[in-house]
């Protein structure tokens, strides 16, 4: 075990790190768990966080047949053009990046007219029934009345035009999740006085699956599992969802929710509005996947469904377990650092690493919530560094200090890990291979193995090849 006691932690915070960041970092077992989180990023701390718009776009982007119009200057749209791995079984419209491309004059004189014209043109050209209009920072400041423009456009074209209040400065990525959920709630709202026709057609066994963006077909994988248990997936929020499929959301009898960071609010509201209860699930790793399938079957109190769930789990596990065991042998004793977007993913990863024999020595998130950090603290080993809204210097510091062999993170973290000679796992919305379910568990183990045990590290650690300096 590497040393990371109270004194050295404190010293290092003093010497190398920014004072205000101290309260965002704890070491399990050495300090009380009183980690600060859900706060604004500190100026100049090179936060890895993206913005409200980013959060909103992540959640809504997978709605395949919608026009996603970014109301703002070009950059915001440019950096988010088709960068996600969400798959569609139908329309490809969502893979376009539409922007009102505001220029100086628009900023000075207002851009409502331009927005209205933009919507007109897009609707005419692409013939869509649903438009999401994302507001960006500039729009938030110049005070365009997004609501009014969208309302007028909706009326004019007889379609739905939903504003997404995602100006970057009103908060961080979490505020964007919230803005996206608000937009979705508007979309699924029932006409006044109408109650959802529950059980019809589904025999009371249809669920909405919240918090899967169908990266590399993950939502399809889980839908297949559920189907084999006799559960119909009504609609996924929002992987491979469409305008019409979302409209039926209120008819499901249960919501299962994976990515709580982005979806908890939506799940709660749907319970209040439509009386749909929700279950927290996770399909990352063997353990979580099996437990979640059992939980869903149990929720329906149906012995036949439970039997089928057990059958599925037994069948899949039989295939997966031996493979995982093989990797486990090779990976035992390695140490991992985790830095991901949300708390749900971090928690699942800690467990998943255990499955393959790896100890987690550092874990952090961009936007984890208090209760998620509590869980992380509970399941972490003593000495684990837990941190919120970390920056490259902190990641560097703690990875080196704790002797991590591997970092899990997103695009920005990858080159840092590599420069430190540390293996890396991509766990972001850009990836092109599934990490969910049983197949995902194998992919994950294989990816970890391929990076941790790669021959390249022999050379970076000076154990292969040598250059003889000439006299």
């Amino acid at each position: 075990m590497e040393r990371c006691d109270d004194m050295s932690t404190v010293n290092l915070l003093k010497d190398q790190l920014v004072e205000e960041r101290k309260s965002f970092i704890v070491v399990k077992g050495r300090q009380k768990n009183q980690l600060k989180c859900e706060a604004d990023s500190i100026a100049g701390c090179v936060s890895q966080r993206a913005c409200v718009y980013c959060g909103a776009r992540v959640v809504l982007n997978p709605v395949t047949d919608a026009i996603h119009l970014v109301h703002g200057p070009i950059g915001c749209a440019s950096y988010t053009w088709d960068i996600r791995g969400s798959l569609s079984s139908g329309s490809e419209l969502y893979r376009n990046s539409f922007s009102t491309d505001l220029k100086e004059n628009d900023v000075i004189f207002g851009s409502e007219k331009k927005l209205a014209r933009a919507i007109d043109e897009l609707v005419e050209k692409y013939n869509a029934g649903l438009v999401f209009v994302y507001s960006t920072c500039v729009v938030g400041v110049i005070g365009d009345d997004l609501e009014a423009v969208c309302r007028a456009a909706a009326k004019k074209h007889g379609i739905e035009v939903i504003p997404v209040q995602s100006s970057g400065f009103i908060g961080n990525k979490s505020a964007g999740y919230r803005a996206a959920c608000d937009a979705l709630l508007r979309l699924i709202e029932l006409p006044a006085g109408k109650l959802p026709g529950r059980t019809a057609g589904s025999g009371g066994r249809s669920v909405n699956y919240l918090g899967d963006f169908n990266l590399a077909g993950e939502a399809w994988i889980i839908t297949n599992y559920l189907k084999s248990m006799g559960v119909d997936v009504n609609v996924v929020f929002t992987g491979d969802a469409t305008h019409q499929s979302l409209k039926k959301a209120a008819t499901a009898s249960l919501n299962i929710m994976q990515c709580a960071g982005s979806m908890a609010y939506l799940a709660r509201r749907m319970e209040e509005l439509y009386g749909i209860p929700y279950l927290k699930v996770s399909f990352l790793g063997l353990e979580d996947t099996s437990a979640s399938l059992r939980k869903i079957a149990a929720a329906f109190k149906d012995p036949e469904m439970m039997r089928r769930a057990e059958e599925l789990i037994a069948r899949e596990t039989a295939g997966v377990r031996p493979v995982i065991e093989q990797y486990r042998e090779k990976l035992r004793g390695k140490k991992a650092a985790i830095y991901v977007g949300g708390g749900f993913k971090a928690i699942s990863l800690v467990k998943q690493f255990r499955e393959i024999g790896i100890d987690v020595v550092m874990v952090g998130t961009q936007t984890g919530r208090e209760e998620e950090y509590q869980t992380l603290h509970d399941i972490a080993d003593d000495g684990t560094v837990i941190l919120d809204d970390a920056n490259p210097s902190e990641l560097e510091k703690f990875m080196l200090e704790k002797g991590a062999h591997l970092l899990v993170g997103g695009v920005k973290e990858r080159p840092l890990a590599y420069k430190l000679g540390v293996a890396f796992i991509d766990h972001n919305h850009d990836r092109k291979h599934p990490l969910s379910g049983f197949v995902g568990a194998i992919n994950f183990a294989r990816e970890v193995y391929s990076t941790v045990c790669s021959p390249v590290w022999k050379y970076t650690r000076g154990m292969g090849g040598v250059l003889h300096a000439q006299e």
């Binding site: 100026a43 993206a50 400041v141 400065f169 961080n172 490259p392 990858r414 970076t460």
Partner: protein
């Protein structure tokens, strides 16, 4: 819309799939090419994170950029406090010798006076001499290309001071790959030129693996060298498309009387000749045999592949400076461009292209402020069969089956954008090979089936030789 449906009507009030990025994004790059420097975006957190991500993906290097992380309060009451805190924290953690402050749309929209804030800050902290370089880069004010040049100009303007005349030559480069910058330096060294090259991110954004990690990578143009630029014998700027108002070379000429030679990026025979000849003239030195050999090899390559290249009808897109250079290579080799597009607004590019286009035997369509939906429509009209530009051109491959030769910035769906060598005689040779091989690959891929479909009409029934009937 489904993959095969095509609607090429063009929206006038919408940018459909952007071909450019925003101004501060371009402004970050030059700061990465100055020794021990850091950069902060004054605005909300998201912009800087997006830009970092974009740059990091291209270079496969850590790209640390600060943000003043403006929140609602800062947006309403002014962001001076945030920016000062950001400066404090960046200085503490990175200990840079220079800091750049760029603005985002948000800061500009709320009317932040970054010069004033910077002045106050330096005064309050007793740092009168610290180089704090402010650059006003509203994202809506221009594309990343303009942001890049303006940042270079501001860096030079901040550091340059009147100095004694010396024999050195200033070399100012556009947004090239680190490999390209290294090649230009090699040519300068072969020509025995004493030079200051700005900005030099050939090491910082393509740094060798070493056992110890440095928060600010080694390398970059030395501050002391930039100070001496006004005394140089000449400035060579690879920036023929740059507007004078943001041109660092013009600044040095107007303020300090340094003669400016504005040249295109040395891609292609003619453009590279221009640079080498100028260097020979300025230094009075001979052109080394090795460069002559390299030129000869390029000619040899051009001959070897000219017939394959003759089948190419290209679309060239990206930053104006690079677009111009690539078009020259295309024309020299008979891969005549059919569509030339930039996401920026560049009147200069259009002017420059006129004589080049006139040389083309076929029609050329030049599109300023283009987006990819527009470019795609043009490609269909004009029968384009090869695309040359940055990664976003993959859209043309997916939608129209046009193969893409990746060059420029950003390249985020392949590795090695930072190692692509395309300048000088050697680089052009490699670049041309990439073009030719892409044409060949595409031709050979369909050769058997396309000839079969085109010409095979079957054999008469009764002529068929039947076995065993």
């Amino acid at each position: 819309m489904h993959r095969n449906e095509v609607n090429t009507r063009h929206c006038r009030n919408v940018n459909e799939n952007p071909c450019n990025m925003c101004m501060p994004m371009g402004g970050i790059l030059p700061f990465k090419g100055i020794e021990q420097s850091m950069v902060i975006i004054h605005g909300s957190q998201g912009c800087s994170t997006y830009m970092r991500r974009h740059i990091a993906e291209h270079f496969n290097e850590p790209v640390d950029v600060g943000s003043s992380s403006l929140n609602e309060k800062g947006t309403i009451y002014g962001g001076a406090g945030n920016l000062k805190q950001a400066l404090d924290n960046i200085r503490k953690v990175y200990r840079p010798r220079l800091i750049g402050v760029l603005t985002s749309c948000l800061a500009e929209t709320i009317g932040e006076d970054i010069d004033g804030i910077a002045r106050d800050y330096l005064h309050e902290r007793g740092l009168a001499d610290f180089p704090l370089v402010t650059v006003s880069t509203p994202g809506y004010g221009g594309s990343h290309a303009e942001g890049y040049w303006l940042a270079v100009k501001r860096i030079v303007a901040k550091l340059a001071r009147p100095t004694e005349k010396h024999a050195g030559i200033n070399v100012i480069v556009p947004n090239l790959s680190p490999a390209d910058i290294r090649e230009i330096k090699r040519i300068l060294e072969l020509m025995r030129v004493k030079y200051t090259l700005v900005p030099d991110f050939s090491d910082t954004l393509d740094s060798p693996y070493t056992r110890t990690y440095k928060k600010i990578p080694e390398g970059g143009t030395r501050l002391a060298d930039i100070e001496q630029m006004p005394g140089a014998a000449a400035t060579i700027q690879l920036g023929v498309t740059v507007d004078e108002s943001i041109s660092p070379g013009h600044y040095l000429q107007n303020e300090f009387g340094v003669p400016l030679y504005n040249l295109p990026v040395p891609m292609g025979i003619e453009n590279t000749d221009l640079l080498v000849n100028l260097l020979a003239r300025l230094t009075g030195g001979k052109i080394p045999v090795i460069l002559e050999q390299e030129r000869g090899r390029l000619l040899d390559c051009m001959i070897d592949s000219h017939k394959y290249n003759a089948r190419g009808r290209s679309v060239v897109f990206g930053e104006p400076e690079l677009v111009y250079a690539v078009v020259k290579v295309c024309v020299e080799n008979g891969v005549f461009p059919a569509v030339v597009a930039t996401g920026s607004r560049s009147a200069r590019l259009e002017e420059l292209l006129k004589p080049v286009v006139a040389e083309c035997p076929l029609e050329v369509r030049v599109v300023n402020e283009a987006d990819f939906t527009r470019i795609r429509a043009c490609c269909r009209d004009m029968g384009v069969n090869i695309a040359i530009g940055h990664s976003d051109g993959k859209y043309l491959t997916e939608k129209e089956g046009i193969p893409l030769v990746r060059t420029g910035f950003p390249i985020h769906d392949r590795v090695g954008g930072q190692r692509l060598l395309s300048v000088g005689y050697v680089g052009t040779t490699m670049f041309l090979d990439r073009i030719t091989n892409t044409l060949l690959e595409n031709k050979l891929k369909n050769y058997r089936s396309s000839m079969y479909q085109k010409f095979y009409r079957g054999v008469e029934e009764n002529n068929q030789c039947s076995v065993g009937s």
